[in-house]
Amino acid sequence: MFKYFAIPLIILLLIAGCAGIPFQSAPVMSMEKVEPGFVKERFLLMLPDRFQIISTIAFEYKGQSVSFIGYSDIDAKKKTFTVAGINQVGIKLFEITGDSDKTDLRFAIEEFTKKGNFAEAVAGDIRKIYFNRLPADSSKVYKKKHEIVFVQDEPEAVIEFVFAGPDNLLVEKRCIMDNKVIWRANYYEYREKNGKLHPAGIILENIKYGYKLIMRLKEIRS
């Protein structure tokens, strides 16, 4: 009898849980027999060192949202990047280059430069999403039923890397300060090109500053 109530309830909960996420979450799989070292090594081999992608990016902040097209050239190995945003009618909005420390704003329309440090904010998000997607060797490992969590200590925070799903891929990277998550990047629907994996959907939620980036992969150039 229980299953007749439980199944619709589970479906309802799943639907409710998925509301607002425009991507498929990785299917829930047991990770009990998965070796953490293997997960990390395998993911390292599947990560592209350098890639150029075109995405659409929706920026949500205080109930407002704006979207644009992003062109990104990322070298995750050298930790360098060049990103440009253009609007849907082809007008360039910004162009930024940088590495793990430095940021160079090459161009931005006036509206983007009026408040705060726009370039640093974009660069910071790029680094969070695309750099250091592998936990350090010194990370602690916690095996849960459906995920493996690597916990990496940073000078002022903790970065957690969550691996899950049938392919044991990185599904979430989050930063914790004072026991609170201040940002998280979620990776969805990995696609393979030339033997390397690219998430077709990324959601970066910056809890500290109250905004969200939803990135939809449109094209992998290299």
Partner: protein
Amino acid sequence: MIIRIVTTFMLIFFNATCGYAQDSQVPEKARSDLNSVLSRLEKKMSGIKTLKTGFVQEKELAVFKQKVVLKGTVYIEKPARLAWHVNEPMKYIMVISQNMISQWDEDTNKVQKISLSKNPAFEAAIGQMQEWFSGAYTPLLKEYEITLLKENPASLKFTPRAATFAGNVIKSVTVDFRKDEQYIKRIFIEEKGGDTTNLLFVDTSLNIPVEASAWKAGQ
């Protein structure tokens, strides 16, 4: 911000081709040829009441040396309606009608509306755009030098004068007309930073009824 972006777009795409200056440096014969071509184009375009055209827009960012390609459809209905539909790489609709601009995109799935009367700069850009599509080529601006690259079908190169709005960002704009000169075949924009935009109009239909759905921003 959205207003500024769209205004810039309007200024680049429409102002650029709105008028020409009577440059004293240009020889009399060349000026006469140019005047004659512009009069001819004005006359030919004056018969357009509605327009539906596909477009392929290739944006080449100098920093990447690769193109971002946008494809879609433009609808125009004189005197004051324009719809810009992008189908690739994402769906986006911008509709300018009466005193309002409406925008929708599939990612946010929201319609944003902007009043033109509350945004004079944008209203001015729209006004110039309307004059362009009406075929009124009397000098609206004194911002460009025009070079007649080819007489028939016409090909015109617009070079912004120094210390103008366009002069700050645009190196040149080349406009090629299609064979019957009733509409534009291609607009090629070279920016000072090295980026280029090639806007090719394809499958252009003139004076056909425009479906009502074209003027709806949203799915």
